[in-house]
Symmetry: C2
Subunit: 480 residues, 2 copies
């Protein structure tokens, strides 16, 4: 593999450049003609489809259904919930012309769909029988990014899912918020092999228009926090302006309670950063579009025939066992070149077959997560591979967990805080609950309160900033 | 079921109003706040997902892969192929502002993605090794509709798939065009139970920017033609302005050959119109999100227990057999009300279980496509249902085929043509090949040439309009 194709920088040397090279060279995504926009290439799309499949399966089992809502929202509709509008308007792309005509009222390309979805909900929800209403939509949304953009992490258009549910009571909405947060947690830990902290956002950081926001946060290798997904209880903040009311069993009309929640292709960015190494991407087996790549090794036509025959047989076998396998039968590339390419693309297991393997009725398996090869007897291949994939998945999560644990530190005073925040990681600290302390810390250090932990922790000191009574233990970090 | 919920108009009396009522009352779609836009509700979305699943399966087997391209296209990029730009510009939604800023260059919301996709292809395609490049994308596109809009058939935003492929030679591109057209034909005949004619478009009617366009056309019950899908050979019309070149095995640089093709949610509109009746939607089993609905019938708590126990057992059984079954266990609705609702929603088979069925170890099956009930012994249920679903699918296609055949007429002179076109249907006629004849006929009768049949038919008279030598047999119709 030529220099041009492989990575030319180490992860530890220039993290940002390394990240960009992995994105481009592993063919996950590419830049688009408009700045801040991105093309999701087939390999990246296949990863996104795995995420979609898992999440769809989980929410469908609980009665959620998919739907599609228009991409354009009239300005007047977007304005209906004042806080929400104020929060999003700096980032909205506006459509003002159709063909040669100027449009009477500007149309926003959805930055999120609350307002357009709830215009429908106000028509659809009539009685308690219509509740809960549990819909989800897979789409793209647009938010004009002014800060530096970065593929997957900060793009002006991104693919995501957004769920929008309606409930009869606050308690049911509370429960939905937690149900979804737990599914997000399962998604990132079990599928993406990334551990995360669960918590709620402060008033300052919550979703604009929400009653409260819960969040899943993790830490990237550069010490910056990354928000993986959020799940909001919207209270009645939208049901009132949008007049989403239902006739209760009591014969009275009530405003409904609502939730919304989303995860985006940002998750793919998290996987790249968390698990990748100097050779490129490292994909957790459950997420990998290709779990096993078969690379044939031969130096004569006679060998080729034997090797291919065996490779095809194993390919069929693994396919039957529902293992996502790919036989790289391309001509004109050396085995070494192929090894490098599939390592760059993060395939968890490489299965090598050479003439010797044919003779000895074995194959060689090479792991991507650690440098380790094993020779396996033909008869044990599928069992061995299934075990190894599971072992890799566990090992990747374990490593990520160790990293996260090691980078949750405690700060007892503000000068230590300022020093430690430079090194990155989460900083546990006490907070008086005052938004002005939170804002000052952000201004002075670049760190904000990422979350108030879901399982509340015991206050151990005064407010890290003002020195008044500490009311909550919170987690600070600089973030993406 | 109250009047308000059921249809209030017959298909034969007011086809247009009937159509709208089915769309809204079967909860397939709803109007959106912006005129011409539509919400795809969960039931409609589930049908779209079936279409997507089938098509994805077919093209994936042939090596096509999915990707995602940005929704915004800079005006200069859209302008690169002049004909293409001229064709689409009257319908383009333009983004001119981002937040509070005016954007330097207007951005088009994609009306179709050729230009934005080919900007990437010019970077990705280098050598013959990169070909064929076979990508597909599922997205929504926008075209400002000025004529009367209609859910599914004519909306300013619609869901669709668009395929974009690159080949080394014209022959390979020709072949791809036909491969896809054949998959479209399989999709509509085998899944949607709608027969269609295959052909090519005239120069006047082809896709703007294409070398030639192939099309799949069918006839709706009101006698108007509907274009179901198109597959274009783009020739080198885009590869030249976009500079998509590859290094051939001959060591020379060549402009590539390209195809593009698409089907949209319009297919759902075709299914509604083609198969629906005075009770509502009628779905072909292979397309139906719910193939069998179980409706329990009971008048006492004791009966309910027995009936539910049996219903749950059958529900599990059919699930295991991969039949898409739904047990309607809702309280507070009469069986008759449920019957009407599921008929409105077009579920192919209703399975009724009452106390007598429990005693006699039978169930009652009612077909949606024709009025016919059958009592089936418990032990034969899954076999019987599988057979019936197949029979319904076949019967629906047969009926649609009979209708299509009956409405392909031949016109020998223009006065007969003008009379017959009023009655609707396809009119076979001879044509001199002159665009001016084609345009005059369109202006005078509202009918255009829907297609030149793929298997060329023998000319039997002079041009239907000018009386000069007939060069082709073509199919005229008024169309959606």
């Amino acid at each position: 593999m030529s220099k041009e194709i492989g990575l030319t920088v180490k992860k530890s040397e220039d993290f940002s450049e390394w990240y960009t090279q992995v994105v481009l060279k592993a063919e996950l995504a590419d830049y688009a003609p408009v700045k801040g926009f991105m093309v999701l290439r087939p390999y990246g799309y296949a990863i996104w489809e795995r995420i979609r499949e898992y999440f769809d399966y989980r929410i469908t089992k609980l009665g959620h259904k998919n739907a599609y809502f228009p991409a354009l929202i009239p300005e007047s509709l977007l304005r209906k919930e004042a806080e929400h509008f104020k929060g999003f308007v700096p980032e909205v792309f506006w459509v003002t012309q159709a063909g040669n005509d100027t449009i009477g009222e500007r149309l926003a390309i959805r930055p999120t769909s609350e307002t357009i979805v709830y215009a429908s909900y106000s028509k659809w929800v009539r009685s308690w029988r219509d509740l809960p209403l549990l819909l989800n939509t897979w789409n793209s949304v647009m938010r004009a990014e002014i800060k530096g953009t970065k593929p997957f992490l900060r793009t002006s258009e991104f693919l995501w899912q957004e769920g929008h549910t309606v409930h009869a009571t606050k308690e049911e909405a509370d429960q939905e918020v937690m149900t979804i947060l737990t599914i997000y947690e399962d998604l990132v830990t079990k599928e993406l092999a990334i551990p995360a902290l669960k918590g709620t956002k402060t008033e300052r950081e919550k979703f604009v228009g929400a009653l409260y926001t819960t969040t899943l946060e993790t830490l990237m290798p550069d010490g910056k926090a990354l928000q993986m997904g959020t799940s909001h209880n919207l209270g009645q903040n939208f049901s009132k302006p949008f007049e989403i009311t239902y006739l209760g069993k009591d014969g009275q009309s009530h405003f409904a309670w609502q939730t919304s929640w989303g995860v985006s292709w940002r998750l793919i960015g998290a996987v790249i950063m968390m698990h990748g190494d100097d050779k490129g991407l490292v994909l957790p087996p459950r997420l990998a579009p290709i779990q096993v790549v078969i690379v044939p090794i031969y130096y004569s036509e006679a060998d080729k025939k034997k090797v291919f025959e065996k490779a095809n047989r194993i390919n069929r076998l693994l396919n039957r066992k529902k293992i996502r396998v790919h036989f790289d039968d391309r001509e004109g590339y050396t085995p070494g070149w192929k090894f490098n390419e599939w390592e760059l693309k993060g395939v968890p297991l490489r299965l090598e077959i050479g003439p010797k393997d044919v003779a000895s009725q074995t194959v060689t398996l090479a792991r991507r997560d650690i440098i380790k090869k094993a020779v396996v007897t033909d008869s044990k291949i599928s069992k061995e591979i299934a075990d190894l994939l599971e072992e890799i998945q566990k090992n990747m999560l374990r490593k990520a967990e160790e990293y996260l644990e090691k980078h949750i530190l405690t700060a007892n005073d503000y000068s230590a805080f300022k020093k430690e925040i430079e090194a990155g990681g989460f900083l546990r600290a006490n907070w008086c609950g005052d938004t002005s302390c939170e804002a000052s810390i952000k201004e002075e250090t670049g760190a904000d309160i990422r979350l108030l932990p879901l399982s509340e922790e015991k206050v151990f000191a005064n407010c890290i900033y003002c020195g008044k009574e500490g009311k909550k233990v919170v987690y600070f970090a600089r973030a993406y």
